[in-house]
C-alpha cells in the first residue's frame, strides 16, 4: 500500500509501523528487480554471442556448400576432359598409324625393322614470286668419281709395279709404289695395284681420252620435302584446298650422271638448269600461299627402295669401294682434327692420303687384316650394316675403339655423378656402360670430307624391348623429346623440363670428401669450378683435369699408385697423388665406391688411363663428365646404338639406304645480304677491305640519315609555314616540293646506301683509297720511318716530290719557308706528348675496364634482385587471384557485422525504452514529535 500523508486522526505509531513495513517491502522489491535486471543482461549477452557464432557458422556453411558444389562440378568437368583426352589419344594413334602407313608406302622404304643409313644432302633454296625452289645435291660421299677402266699408261705402270714386286724387274718396290703415287695419285695407285693384281680379272682398258663421268649413286627413289614452322609441318595448300604438307620430287635415276662432257647444249644438265633438276627429281617448286606461317626450317628425306639384283648394302659397299680408289677413304682415330683451327691443323693432307692408299695396297699385297668387332672397322661395319671385310683394307680399321673410353667410363661412372645423372636417377647406372659420348664409331674420311656415323632414333616414340639396358631411360627419352619438341605436343599442366639444361652443370660425389664441393662447369668444357674460391676446388685446363705431362701429379705417375693402393689406404697417400687432378680425385672416389668385385676392374682401368696420351685422356674424361652433367644426347645415342646392334644381330646384312638434309632460316630475306663484293688478292686483304668498307658504309649511312633528318625538318617547317599569314603560297609550295624531293631522295639513298655526291664521298671518314698505288706509297713511307727518318721529313720529301712532278719548282722555296719545322727536340716533344696521351688513354681504358667489371659483378645481384622482385610480384598476383573469390565474403561479413551492430543498437534501444525500476521519492507529512 502506497503510504499517504499521516491523517491526524490516525494513530501515529500505527502509521509509522505501516510506513516501515512499506519501505521494507519496497527495498526487497527493488533488490529483486536489480537481480532480475542483472540476470537479464547476462542472458542477453549469452544469446547475442551465440547468435553471432551461429551467424558465423552459417556463413562458413554457405561457403562450404558453394565450394562443395563447385568441387563436384570441377570433378565432373575434369572427368569429361579425361574422357575426351582418352578419345583424342586414340584418334591420334589411328591417324598416326595411317599416316605412317601411307608415308612408308610413298617412300617405298623397307621394313621398319631394317635400320636406315641416311647419307647427307646439300640443299639450296631460292624464292621466286612466292614460290620456294629447293634444289637437292648429293654430298661428296654420294658422288662416285671412280673409273675402273685403266689407260694404257696406267696399265703399263701397274704392270711395272707387279714386275718389280715379283722380281721380274729390278727396282726398289717402295720407289715403284711412290712412282705410282706421284704419277696417278695415292688412291688411283692403290686401284692400279688392285686392278692388276695377279688372279684378278683383266682390267678393262679405257677406250676414249676421258674417264668415266662422275655419278651420284645410292640416291633415294624420290625426295619428300617438308616445310616446318614451330617444329610442325606447314600446310602449303591454298585455303579450302586439300591439305598439302609434303612436296614430292619426280623419280630420281640411279645412278644419276654428273658429267659435263655429256651435256647436251639443247638440254642443259640438271645441276645447271632448274627445270631439268625438277625433271630429274633433284629440285622441287613449292608454292607458298598467302597467310602461310613463316617457313622456319626445311627437311628433305628420301629412301632407296629395295631393288632386286642391287641390294642397298651392296650398293653402299660399292660406293665406298669407289671412294677408296678415287678420293680415298680412311677411318679416323678419335680426336683427329678434321678442320683447321687457330691451334690445330686438319690431319688431312698428302700424308694421310698416301697412308690410306698404302693400307689398301697392303691389303692387296698381303691380304686384308682381320678386324675384330670391337675394333674401329668392325664397329663401323656393324653400324653401317656392311661386311667387316669391306672395311678391313681401310686405314684405321684395326685401331682399338673402346679401350680408353671403356676404362674412363668405368672410373668416372663410379667416381663421379652429375646433374644429369642425378636427374636420371639411380636406375640410369644400368645405361651408363652404353655411353660413348664421342660416338659409337670412328669418323669416316671420304676424300677431304669427314663423316661421323651417329645412330639415332625418335626419342619421343621410344619403346623399350626386354633385356635392353637402355630401357631404363625410356621416360627420360620421352621427356627430352617433349621438352625439345613443339609446344603443341606438351601438356601445359605438366611441362617437361629439359634434361641436362640449366646452370647446374656439375659433377660431384656428395658422399665423398674429395669431391664434396659442387663442381660447376664453366663455358669452357675444360674448366670446372666449385663456385667458391675458398674450397680451392677449381679445375681449369688439362693439368687440373688429368694432371700435367709428368711429375708427381701426372696421370702416368698418380694413377698407377692409386691402382696399386688398397681403397682403405688411399687416405694415406700424398695429397699430390690423391688430389693432384680432378681425374685423380675421381679415381679415389671410384675406388671407394667400387664393390669388392669391381676393384680389380677399376685398378686395371686406372692402368689403362695411366698409359693413355694426355690429350686423349683429357678428351675422354671431359666427354664423360659432360655426359654426367648435361649431355643427354650422348645417352640418346647410346640407347639407339644398343638397339641398332640388336637389329644388326637379328638381321645381318639387311641394309636400307636413304638421304636426308635440312635447312633453317628459309624465310625470304627482306634486306639484301650484302651491298656488293670486294675483290682482293688475298684473304687477309679481303678481310681488311671488308672491315673498312663496312665502316665506310656506316659513315655513309650516317650521312644519309643526317640528310634525311634535315630534309624532314625542312618539310615540317615549310608545311607549318604553308598556311601562315604573310607567306607567299607559291614560293612556299615550290620550296615544299623541293624539300619533299630531297626527303624522298634521302630516304631512297638510305635504303640503298647509295653513294653521296663526289665531294661528300671524299670527305667521309674512312674513305680510304685501297688501291695498290696507295699501298705501295704507304709501304715506302713505313720503311722510311723504320729506317730512322722522321715522319715529318718523309712527308715533306713526298710533298716536294709531288711539287716537282707537277712542275711547280718555283714554289718550292716558298713552301720550305712556310713549312719550316724543327726536327729533333721539337719532334721529340711532340712524340713525348703523344706518348703521354697514349698513357692517359691506357689508364682510362683500364679504369673503364674496372668499371665494366664492376658492372658485371653487379649484374648478378641485380638480376637476383630483379628475380626476387618478379617472384614477389608473381606471389602477390597469385595472392590477389586467390583473394578475389573471397572479396565478397568480406563484404558479406561487414554487412553481417553491421547487422549485428544494428541488432545490438535495437536491443539497447529496447533496454532504454524498458521502464526503469521505479524509485520515486515520496514526501509525506509525518506526525509531529516523531523522531
Amino acid at each position: 500500500m502506497r503510504p499517504i500523508d499521516w491523517d491526524p486522526s490516525q494513530d501515529p505509531q500505527t502509521y509509522l509501523e505501516q510506513l516501515d513495513a512499506w519501505e521494507a517491502e519496497r527495498d526487497r522489491l527493488a533488490a529483486a528487480q536489480a537481480d532480475a535486471s542483472a540476470a537479464f543482461v547476462t542472458a542477453q549477452a549469452r544469446a547475442v554471442a551465440l547468435a553471432n557464432w551461429a551467424a558465423s557458422l552459417a556463413t562458413d556453411l554457405s561457403a562450404v556448400s558453394g565450394q562443395a558444389g563447385q568441387l563436384a562440378a570441377n570433378a565432373a568437368a575434369r572427368a569429361t576432359l579425361e574422357a575426351q583426352l582418352t578419345r583424342v589419344a586414340g584418334e591420334i594413334e589411328d591417324h598416326q598409324a595411317a599416316r605412317e602407313l601411307a608415308t612408308a608406302r610413298l617412300l617405298a622404304g623397307p621394313s621398319p625393322q631394317v635400320p636406315l643409313v641416311l647419307l647427307p644432302l646439300r640443299l639450296e633454296t631460292r624464292w621466286l614470286d612466292d614460290v620456294l625452289h629447293v634444289r637437292i645435291y648429293p654430298d661428296d660421299i654420294g658422288l662416285d668419281t671412280h673409273d675402273p677402266s685403266l689407260t694404257d699408261d696406267e696399265l703399263r705402270w701397274a704392270d711395272h709395279f707387279w714386275q718389280v714386286r715379283s722380281g721380274a724387274a729390278a727396282a726398289d718396290q717402295e720407289e715403284t709404289w711412290q712412282q705410282l703415287v706421284r704419277r696417278f695419285g695415292p688412291a688411283r695407285a692403290a686401284w692400279l695395284v688392285q686392278a692388276t693384281a695377279p688372279g684378278q680379272p683383266t682390267a678393262a682398258v679405257r677406250s676414249g681420252p676421258w674417264p668415266q663421268p662422275a655419278q651420284a649413286r645410292v640416291l633415294p627413289d624420290r625426295f619428300a620435302v617438308v616445310a616446318l614452322s614451330g617444329g610442325l609441318p606447314i600446310n602449303l595448300a591454298a585455303a579450302d584446298a586439300t591439305p598439302r604438307y609434303v612436296s614430292w620430287t619426280s623419280p630420281v635415276a640411279d645412278p644419276l650422271p654428273l658429267s659435263p662432257l655429256e651435256a647436251d647444249p639443247a638440254a642443259p644438265p640438271w645441276w645447271q638448269d632448274l627445270a631439268a633438276a625438277r625433271a630429274a627429281g633433284m629440285a622441287v617448286a613449292i608454292p607458298v600461299p598467302k597467310g602461310a606461317p613463316p617457313i622456319e626450317a626445311l627437311a628433305v628425306l628420301g629412301v632407296r627402295s629395295e631393288r632386286s639384283g642391287a641390294p642397298a648394302g651392296a650398293a653402299l659397299e660399292a660406293l665406298l669401294a669407289g671412294h677408296t680408289f678415287s678420293s680415298g677413304v680412311e677411318l679416323l682415330a678419335s680426336g683427329t682434327p678434321t678442320n683447321n683451327s687457330g691451334d690445330l691443323r686438319s690431319a688431312h693432307g698428302s700424308e694421310s692420303q698416301e697412308r690410306a692408299a698404302r693400307s689398301v695396297r697392303d691389303a692387296v699385297l698381303d691380304g686384308a687384316p682381320a678386324v675384330a668387332a670391337d675394333q674401329a672397322g668392325g664397329r663401323l661395319a656393324m653400324l653401317l650394316g656392311l661386311p667387316v671385310a669391306s672395311l678391313a683394307p681401310l686405314a684405321g680399321s684395326t685401331a682399338p675403339h673402346d679401350v680408353l673410353m671403356g676404362a674412363a667410363r668405368l672410373v668416372v661412372g663410379l667416381g663421379a655423378r652429375g646433374a644429369l645423372r642425378d636427374r636420371l636417377g639411380p636406375q640410369a647406372a644400368a645405361a651408363w656402360p652404353l655411353l660413348e659420348p664421342a660416338g659409337p664409331a670412328p669418323a669416316l674420311r671420304v676424300g677431304r670430307q669427314p663423316y661421323g656415323v651417329l645412330p639415332t632414333t625418335a626419342p619421343g616414340r621410344w619403346q623399350p624391348l626386354a633385356g635392353e639396358a637402355g630401357s631404363v631411360l625410356t621416360d627420360a627419352l620421352h621427356e627430352w623429346a617433349a621438352a625439345s619438341g613443339p609446344p603443341l605436343m606438351v601438356d601445359p599442366a605438366a611441362p617437361p623440363s629439359p634434361l641436362g639444361g640449366g646452370p647446374a652443370r656439375r659433377v660431384t660425389r656428395d658422399d665423398d670428401a674429395d669431391l664434396a664441393a659442387l663442381l660447376l662447369e664453366s663455358a669452357h668444357s675444360l674448366q670446372w669450378t666449385s663456385g667458391d674460391p675458398a674450397t680451392g676446388a677449381d679445375v681449369d685446363g688439362l693439368d687440373a683435369l688429368v694432371g700435367p705431362l709428368d711429375g708427381e701429379t701426372s696421370a702416368a705417375h698418380a694413377l698407377p699408385i692409386l691402382a696399386s693402393t688398397m681403397a682403405g689406404d688411399l687416405a694415406g697417400l700424398p695429397a699430390a697423388v690423391r688430389t693432384g687432378s680432378l681425374l685423380a680425385r675421381i679415381a679415389v672416389a671410384a675406388k671407394g665406391a667400387a664393390s669388392p668385385g669391381d676393384i680389380a676392374a677399376v685398378d686395371a682401368a686406372l692402368g689403362t688411363l695411366a698409359v693413355a696420351e694426355r690429350n686423349d685422356l683429357a678428351r675422354v674424361v671431359h666427354e664423360l663428365l659432360d655426359a654426367s652433367s648435361h649431355r643427354f644426347d650422348a645417352w640418346v645415342t647410346a640407347v639407339a646404338t644398343e638397339r641398332l646392334e640388336a637389329l644388326r644381330r637379328d638381321q645381318p646384312g639387311s641394309v636400307a639406304v636413304g638421304a636426308f638434309g635440312w635447312l633453317t632460316d628459309v624465310a625470304p630475306r627482306t634486306v639484301p645480304r650484302s651491298f656488293g663484293h670486294v675483290h682482293a688478292p688475298s684473304l687477309a686483304q679481303a678481310s681488311t677491305a671488308a672491315v673498312l668498307r663496312s665502316a665506310y658504309l656506316g659513315q655513309r649511312r650516317r650521312a644519309w640519315m643526317a640528310s634525311l633528318d634535315s630534309a624532314a625538318a625542312e618539310v615540317r617547317e615549310l608545311e607549318a609555314q604553308q598556311g601562315a599569314a604573310g607567306s607567299d603560297p607559291q614560293a612556299t609550295q615550290a620550296s615544299l616540293s623541293a624539300a619533299r624531293s630531297r626527303l624522298a631522295l634521302a630516304r631512297d639513298g638510305l635504303d640503298r646506301l647509295a653513294p653521296l655526291d663526289a665531294v661528300a664521298e671524299e670527305r667521309l671518314p674512312l674513305a680510304i683509297d685501297l688501291s695498290s698505288r696507295r699501298v705501295r706509297g704507304a709501304l715506302w713511307m713505313l720503311s722510311a720511318v723504320r729506317a730512322g727518318q722522321p715522319l715529318a721529313a718523309v712527308l715533306g720529301y713526298q710533298f716536294e716530290r709531288d711539287l716537282a712532278d707537277a712542275g711547280l719548282h718555283q714554289h718550292l722555296a716558298a713552301f720550305r719557308k712556310l713549312t719550316r719545322f724543327h726536327t729533333g727536340t721539337a719532334l721529340e716533344k711532340v712524340e713525348q706528348v703523344r706518348r703521354d696521351r697514349e698513357a692517359d688513354l691506357v689508364a682510362a681504358r683500364a679504369a673503364l675496364a674496372d668499371r665494366q667489371r664492376a658492372v658485371v659483378d653487379l649484374q648478378g645481384p641485380l638480376a637476383a634482385a630483379e628475380d626476387s622482385e618478379r617472384a614477389a610480384a608473381a606471389r602477390a598476383a597469385e595472392a590477389d587471384a586467390a583473394y578475389l573469390p573471397f572479396q565478397k565474403l568480406q563484404a558479406e561479413r561487414a554487412t553481417e557485422a553491421d547487422e549485428v551492430d544494428q541488432r545490438m543498437q535495437e536491443l539497447a534501444a529496447i533496454d532504454a525504452d524498458r521502464p526503469k525500476p521505479v524509485d520515486r521519492p515520496f514526501h509525506v507529512n509525518l506526525p509531529p514529535n516523531v523522531p
Partner: protein
Amino acid sequence: MYEHVRAGLTDDASVAQQAVQQATAARDGVRDELNRQGAGLPPLQAALDAANATLDARNRDVAAAQAVVSARASEQQQAQDAVEEAEDAYDRHGGDEPPAVEPGPAGQAQLRQWQRERAQLRHDIDAAKAALAATRPPLAQAQQTLAAAAAVAAVAASAASQARDQLNAATSAINATRQRLADAEAAIVAAQHAVDAIAARMADLDRRAAVLVAAPLDRTTLEPAADLELADLQACWQRRHDLFAGRANAIAARGTLLAAHDTTVDDLAALRSQLAGWSDTGRWPALAGVVSALASVIAANAAQRGHLPLDRADDLAGTRDLLAAQLTALQSIVSQATAERDQAQRALDQARDALVQQQEARP
C-alpha cells in the same frame, strides 16, 4: 584401321541412334495426344452447334417478345398522344377559366355552350386517359415476356459461349500439339542427320583406309591421303592441346577452390577457438559437440593441406553435412539461450511490476 576413331564414332552413333529413338518415341507420344485431342473436337463442335441453335431460338423468342413490347409501347404512345391532344384541346378551349361574356342571355348561353364544350373536352381527356391506362397492363405483360425471353436467351448465350470456349481451347491445344509434333519431327530429322553423318564418316574412313592400302600404289591418290592424315593428326594434336589446357585450368580452379576452402576452415578454426574458450560453454553440453565437430573438420583439412590439388581428397560434401548438423545444434542452443533471455526478461518485468504496484497501489 582407325579402330579408335571407329570406336568413338560407334559410341556417337549409339548416342545418336538413341536420340533418334527418343525423338521418335516423343513424336509418337505427341501424335497419340494429337489424335486424342482430335477425337475430342467433334463433340465439342456438336455441343457448340446445339448451343448456337438454342441461342438462335431464344433470340428469336426475344425478338418476338420485343416486337410485342414495341407494339404495346406504340399503342401506349398513341394513347398518350391522344391524352395530350385532348389536354391540348382542353387548354385551347380555355381550360377552367370561363371566357368573358357579356351579361345577358347571350352571354349566358355562350357560357353554357362553353361549359358543355369544356365538359365534353374533359370527358375526352378522361376517355383518353382511360385508354392510356388500358394500354399499360399489356405493355407490362409484354415486357415481362421479353425479360423472360431475354433471360432464357442469356442462358443460351452463356452456354454457347462456354461451348465455344471449350472448342477454342481444344483447338488451341491441338495447334500446340501440332507444333510439338512438328518439333518432334524436326528432332527426328536432326538426330537422323547425325546418324547419317556418322555413317558417312564411317564410310569415309573405309574409303580412306582403302586408298591407303590400295594396290598397286597410286601416288596421285595416296599423297593427298597421307597429307589428309597429317591434317587430321595436327587437328587432333591441337584438340588434345586445348583439352590439356582445359584440364590445366580445371586443376588450377580446383587449387583455387581448395585454397578458398582452406580459408573457410581458417574461419572455422577461429570460431572453434572462440567457442572452446568461452566461459559459458559448459552451460550447454551440446556446445562441446559443436566444438568437437569443428575440430574434426579442421583436422581433416590440415591433413589435406600441403598436398597438390589433384592429390587432395577433401570431403567437402561431408564437411558441409557435418557443419549443417552443427549449425542446427548451435541454433538450438541459441534458441535455448534466447528462451532463457526471455525468461529473464519476464522475471525482470515481474519484479518491476511488483515494485510499481507496490509503489502506486492505493488502499
